[in-house]
């Protein structure tokens, strides 16, 4: 049953009205501070505007920007890199999240504290966290080096100076920061799996591992997909980490789309082109999300399929 069914024409109208009144503020806000800006940047992605070169004016150029984007090798690299980042980080996060959730789902003394501990990374401002990791992977007084090489300072590694490592570290930092969030969503999913199923599985002769593989995982699907969805959306728009830790370096090794977009938009003042980049980021996210939504589907929308 979908909520309260109004009693008749008039009452129906009255309740519809109430319903609308309830959503209107949210809609207005969204309209003003999300829809309008989005529309704006959609528009300007179709125009050519280069602050440094006013002579070019502000002209409608159709899909020109996207054509350029399609030919821009830097953008290609950035896109590939971003995609890699998204896939690696989200998969790792969700996988780790499952592990975390399994631990937190168990009964043991002081679980509250462990939960809290697990949530701390997520509660630390990204800007701060980024500085933390930058410090930990510092080439001289970094904790990583201390841990690995103790006092053999000669062997100390400049981690962030190596393109491969820099990229890995960005991913690592992101996973560290948000795995617990994914874990939270998964945990929520775990808690709605009836114990009776596990009893049944035990009777059916399933070992702990088999129970996890054949019962838990399949039933976690909605939770996992939800986590993936949220994480993907954020991972695609990773910015703070790069901004604080590497500025996209070394050698563009951490140059992600969002940061590239930022540079073109804010530093270079290529308004049209920058917007085009953002729009394509959005498109990518949207495409990925659609896949998820298809699979998670109305489960996310509560009552109707109960």
């Amino acid at each position: 049953m979908n909520g309260t069914a109004p009693a008749s024409a008039t009452a129906l109208r009255r309740d519809r009205l109430a319903a609308w009144v309830m959503v209107v503020p949210a809609l207005l806000l969204t309209l003003a501070f999300a829809l309008y800006p989005v529309a704006q940047s959609l528009m300007s992605s179709l125009r050519r505007r280069f602050l440094g070169v006013p002579a070019l004016g502000d002209t409608f150029v159709g899909l020109e920007n996207f054509r350029l984007l399609a030919q821009d090798p830097v953008a290609h690299d950035a896109f590939a890199r971003t995609l890699g980042f998204v896939l690696l980080s989200t998969v790792l996060e969700v996988a780790l999240g499952v592990a975390i959730a399994l631990v937190l789902h168990e009964q043991f003394r002081g679980r509250g504290w462990v939960r809290a501990a697990a949530l701390i990374p997520w509660a630390i401002p990204t800007v701060v966290a980024s500085q933390m990791w930058r410090y930990i992977f510092n080439d001289q007084y970094g904790f990583a080096n201390l841990l690995l090489y103790r006092d053999q300072v000669a062997r100390y590694e400049p981690w962030l100076a190596s393109p491969a490592w820099a990229f890995a570290i960005i991913i690592f930092a992101d996973v560290w920061k948000t795995a617990s969030f994914a874990g939270l969503l998964v945990l929520a999913g775990l808690q709605v799996i009836p114990d009776e199923l596990y009893d049944a599985a035990k009777i059916d002769g399933a070992s702990a591992w088999q129970r996890f593989w054949h019962i838990t995982l399949p039933l976690l699907k909605p939770a996992l997909l939800l986590a993936l969805l949220f994480r993907t959306m954020d991972a695609f728009r990773v910015f703070d980490l790069v901004f604080v830790m590497t500025q996209g370096g070394p050698g563009d090794a951490t140059q992600v789309l969002q940061f590239y977009g930022y540079k073109t938009l804010f530093t270079e003042g290529r308004m049209g082109y920058g917007a085009a980049i953002s729009v394509s980021v959005f498109a990518a996210i949207f495409a990925l999300s659609l896949i998820y939504i298809r699979t998670v589907g109305s489960r996310l929308l509560g009552r109707e399929d109960r």
């Binding site: 462990v114 006092d151 929308l301 509560g302 009552r303």
Partner: protein, 271 residues
């Protein structure tokens, strides 16, 4: 019946993994400048509070904390005030195309912040929202609304329909049903939403940097970002600030983790 050893290992790994960077920063914050720059690093700090002093008094950290509390708190409040009725309407009342609304909300939240930052800045500039707390709250609320609404909506959806109907028969309008029955029951969901929103607002950096250019209003992330002078990386101050900046949230999390979890489980992914 099964061995608890794997569990123990898991717990240990979890706690260690989540805490060690933070702990390292905590240690660092208690070092002296010389200890910090020592190579190889020293394990144990001399316990100097110098960096806390500079962070607090030279960098006016408390002002930033205060601003952040105001902004994050305000955002959370507003986001709930706006989001709860919307969520209720979307989940429990008959709205044409509610699925589209929900989907739309989600899409909105997919758009890159950097793209909408410019226009938002314009709007705020026009309505005089720059360098004001409410000015930065508005976009925060907007960007967190989808998350809040989704969590709350799926939470409301879990509440038994009978209750609303009972309320109706007892003489409630949609509003009073929400206010007197559904809201009290949705507390866990509301908690969850609040925490998520609060943390978002507490951590957000980009908009804050753009919109708040005066020290009087700047929030923590910006404030901390401003620590970096030209001379030396102020690791010590950073560490101290980070610790101070994180403590409130740690407390929050410790206080509310039960709610967060229960809220989510009753909500988001139940299907």
């Amino acid at each position: 019946m099964t061995s608890r050893l794997p569990l123990r290992l898991g717990i240990a790994g979890l706690v260690l993994g989540s805490l060690f960077p933070f702990v390292w920063f905590l240690i660092t914050s208690l070092k002296s400048q010389h200890e910090i720059e020592a190579v190889p690093p020293t394990w144990w700090p001399s316990g100097s509070l110098e960096f806390y002093r500079t962070a607090l008094f030279d960098h006016h950290l408390l002002d930033y904390v205060l601003n952040s509390v105001i902004v994050a708190g305000g955002t959370t409040l507003l986001s709930l005030v706006v989001g709860t009725p919307a969520a209720y309407a979307l989940a429990c009342l008959r709205l044409p195309g509610q699925r589209w609304l929900m989907g739309g909300l989600l899409c909105i939240s997919m758009f890159p912040q950097i793209a909408i930052a410019g226009p938002i800045w314009e709007i705020l500039n026009r309505i005089g929202g720059l360098n004001t707390h409410w000015g930065v709250m508005l976009p925060y609320v907007t960007l967190t609304l989808p998350m809040a609404i989704w969590i709350l909506a799926s939470f409301f959806a879990e509440l038994p329909t009978e209750l609303e109907e009972a309320a109706q028969v007892d003489g409630c309008s949609a509003w009073s049903a929400l206010w007197r029955i559904m809201l009290p029951l949705a507390t866990p969901g509301i908690f969850t939403a609040s925490i998520l929103v609060f943390i978002y607002a507490w951590n957000e950096f980009f908009f804050a940097l753009l919109i708040l250019t005066r020290p009087e209003q700047q929030t923590l992330p910006v404030g901390i970002a401003l620590f970096q002078g030209e001379f030396t990386m102020p690791w010590g101050e950073l560490a101290a600030a980070a610790v101070l900046a994180t403590l409130p949230l740690v407390l929050l999390v410790i206080l509310f983790q039960r709610w967060i979890v229960s809220g989510l489980s009753a909500g988001a992914v139940k299907g």
